[in-house]
Amino acid sequence: MLTQLLLQVAVAVSILLSVALAGVVGRDRLSLLREEWKSRLRTSAPAIALLLAILLLNRIMRQQGRSLSQEYGVHMTEVFYTIEGEFVLLFQAIASPEANAYFSISYVYGYVFLLIFPVVAYAALPKTIDFRRLLIAYSLNYAIGLVFYILFIAYGPRNVFVEELTQTMLYDNNPQVQYLTTEVNRNTNVFPSLHTSLSATVATFAYQTRSTYPRWFPIAVCLSISIMVSTMYLGIHWGIDVLAGLALAGFCVSLSTYLVDRWSLTAILKQVRERVHEYRDTVTTPSQKNS
């Protein structure tokens, strides 16, 4: 069931990607990317490695995080519920089978597309700065999210408002989606909403690069708003999770701008090599004396 769903997602996202790449990025940039991808990859290697490492860590923590969370985590469901009450139920006003379909598709397919497209689009730019910045921002989102997930244990609104959300609950309409979500996430990983923070990150980048990719900006904004609403409409996140997601996005985008190009890895390596040499000198000199 999982493989079948993964295949569906892969096919749908590939189609979306090819259409969007042709319409937004354009043939010229893509053909240039085909020529220069090696050198661009080399320049961006540290950022890529960082993201891969964080994703791997995320994967490991899906199992290990459980026990850590039990040890150090604080239960927050009751707190969130006390603060915001039935806020997410407001979205039930627009509930309909069409809305169910739209938000479910946004949440699953739209989200995957929204995250992958800018990676390719920014890689297709001759200057790699936006590409690297995006990867760093993604990494920060995941890394900070991970820490929060260990510290805050909370269940989403679908676990409290069962009756009210029956019509729109993602898993009821698409039980097989549950195989996918349980594979990538634990159900207590709610605060902050990474769907929100990553969508908002992409939307902010789209705003910053709107002169390069004018067509992408409105698409990214619409899609990311749909995804944010979908998390509440489908009963997955509390309003507070979405707010925290927005704050996290703001923080990660600013920090990525601050961090990128701040240090050059080659310079650091050079420094390290010099240090090692110095150290070796100080260690070897006295021992030679002794012998």
Partner: protein
């Protein structure tokens, strides 16, 4: 109403119908006798704080929809009467940890494992267990002195719990009727309903599903696989069996289906058509015979544990001693296991005659004493070594009862003597068991045996997806009870069948009776009247449940022929009927009920 009814012949018969009706009436109105004068009535209400209540429950969509909906119903109605109620969600093991071990809660909603025999009440409510951790009396309920309005045969609640354990036949039925009435008036927990137990099974690969209860070991034995079927593939929606297989753990399970497969017990539960028959049949014991309150037990010869050690009468003796004191006398105080407390308490003494013969003296009637025969028999060598390694040097050894490492450790791999043995597991994903070829049932006539080499219990996210998967041939059965919301998704065309087994586990709302205001039975009764059990069974369970005032099988529920008044559900709860209709609370009536004992501030908040 405070004066006992006529002391003449009625008192010898127990509760008179008149007294019962009077008590029932008190149940309806918590303030009638006015015997509890709350401090608040003299204290300025503005200086008091509002009453707030935290309702512990499982996550709805991902854990237990029905339970979460009961919690939500209660929460909304508590808010309506001015109580600041919130919902507090915990995972299955954390919920049990909070309630049974930490005992740090106000109210919780959960499913009680109960038992086919109403004697489970003894473990659940006896005051001796109020300060123990585990399934024994998590409500910390203690014999109240308040119910002087009613004349019962037994002077106390504990007395009633004890009496039903010793008397037999019609006398026991009366004792239980009286106990249930006391319970209904006290409401240490609110019994909500007994849901029907449905499971979905695949009929192409296996047949014989109806023979045993699928929550017990017999359900998994004697199944007839089609040719070439090598594995029984069961789906579980609860991942705990992939993490902890300690038969003593209080938090790893509500009921012990997996323990039943890995471990044997002297007797095993069997469904019977005739109500008067015993539900227990010999299992590890080849036979037993009662002489008064002493049972002479003959074990099956040649049984071994999964590691090859022989299973003898010494292991049986050890098991009962160990469950009664998991430190085996090494600590200043006995440390009873957080499970099987009621069963083990029925055992007075054990005498081993030889490797295969022993006698067990019960402090109860044989009927109740036989419940002790259902506990898992543990290998003495392994568990006594575990105690030895934990007893440290000369330091005083006093592990916390119910929570020390021996009873909470995951016990993987488990070594039992049951029909299946542990093979592999992956946390949160699956538990793989394999047939124990040396099990006594293999090749024994008249005893159902494991018929497939492997039993794989795989974690599936929920009932709806489990049904999808079995319908499309991706698995053979659901081990968990199907949640009723998804029953409509079962296809008529697929080779599947919905199997129903006898149900005795019940949903309930438990109070921490040590805490104010839940220590007040009048408050608890008032809360019970905020719960529309009839509406819950109709809407939340779609009619697949039985609302109850007495959470026991129908045959034990006092009816109109009984000595006492009926506790049978007839459109409404006979003792604590809902204050409203169709799930809608009559807020005014409810508030005035609470106002009899408590005060409201100007904003309509109930004060403690």
């Amino acid at each position: 109403m405070n004066s006992p009814p006529d002391e003449s012949d009625e008192s010898t018969k127990g509760i008179s119908r008149r007294a019962m009706l009077a008590a029932g009436a008190t149940g309806l109105s918590i303030g009638a006798s006015g015997c509890i004068n709350r401090v608040q009535s003299v204290v300025d209400p503005n200086s008091s704080t509002g009453m707030s209540v935290s309702i512990l429950t499982l996550p709805g969509a991902d854990g237990d929809r029905e339970g979460a909906q009961i919690a939500r119903h209660l929460e909304e109605n508590l808010r309506s009467v001015g109580v600041n109620a919130t919902i507090n969600t915990r995972s299955r093991s954390e919920l049990l940890e909070t309630v049974l071990l930490d005992q740090d809660f106000d109210i919780y909603v959960g499913r009680h494992p109960a038992d086919f025999n109403p004697d489970f009440f003894y473990e659940a409510l006896h005051s001796t267990y109020a300060y123990e951790s585990g399934w024994q009396n998590p409500f910390k309920f203690m014999d109240p002195s308040f119910d002087s309005e009613v004349r019962f045969t037994d002077p106390s609640f504990d007395g009633a719990l004890e009496r039903q354990r010793t008397v037999e036949g019609a006398e026991r039925e009366d004792a239980i009727a009286e106990l249930l009435w006391r319970f209904a008036l006290e409401q240490p927990f609110i019994p909500v309903c007994i849901p029907n137990e449905y499971r979905l099974v695949q009929t192409d690969r296996f047949s014989g599903w109806e023979d045993g209860h699928l929550a017990t070991r017999l359900g998994y034995l004697g199944l007839e696989p089609a040719a070439d079927v090598e594995q029984l593939h069961a789906l579980i929606t609860d991942a705990r069996p992939t993490r902890n297989l300690n038969p003593l753990s209080a938090t790893a399970r509500e009921r012990g289906t997996v323990t039943d497969l890995l471990y044997d017990s002297l007797a095993t539960y069997e469904e019977t058509d005739d109500d008067s028959e015993s539900n227990l049949r010999p299992w590890l014991a080849a036979d037993w015979e009662w002489d008064g309150s002493t049972a002479t037990i003959e074990l099956r010869e040649g049984c071994t544990f999964h590691n090859g050690d022989p299973l003898t009468a010494q292991d049986v003796e050890f098991t009962y001693q160990f469950l009664a004191d998991t430190t085996l006398g090494r600590a200043p105080e006995a440390s009873p296991a957080p499970r099987y407390r009621g069963q083990v308490a029925a055992v007075d003494s054990i005498a081993v005659e030889d490797d295969y013969h022993l006698t067990i003296s019960a402090s109860t009637s044989p009927e109740v004493g036989e419940r002790a025969f259902t506990v898992p028999i543990l290998p003495r060598r392994i568990w006594s070594e575990r105690v030895d390694t934990r007893v440290t040097g000369n330091d005083e050894f006093s592990p916390p009862q119910g929570t020390w490492s021996l009873v909470t450790a995951n016990n993987i791999p488990p070594v039992g003597s049951g029909p299946f043995q542990f093979a592999d597991r992956s946390q949160g994903e699956f538990l793989l068991l394999e047939r124990f070829e040396d099990h006594f049932s293999v090749g024994t006539d008249g005893v159902p045996e494991p018929t497939v080499p492997e039993l794989r219990l795989e974690v599936d996210p929920g009932t709806a997806s489990s049904i999808d998967r079995i319908t499309s041939g991706g698995a053979d059965m659901t081990t968990a009870r199907l949640e009723t919301y998804a029953l409509g998704g079962i296809s008529d065309d697929a080779p599947v069948e919905r199997v129903e087994d006898t149900s005795w586990t019940f949903y309930h709302i438990g109070f921490n009776t040590l805490k104010e205001p839940f220590s007040n039975p009048r408050f608890r009764r008032a809360v019970a009247r905020l719960v529309d059990k009839g509406w819950i069974t109709e809407t939340v369970f779609n009619g697949h449940a039985r609302p109850v005032a007495a959470p026991v099988a129908e045959k034990w529920t006092p009816d109109s022929d009984s000595e006492v008044d009926s506790l049978v559900w007839e459109d409404k709860d006979p003792v604590t009927p809902f204050l409203g209709t169709d799930g809608e609370l009559d807020v005014k009536a409810a508030r005035s009920l609470f106002a009899e004992d408590y005060e409201y501030d100007d904003n309509g908040n109930l004060l403690r």
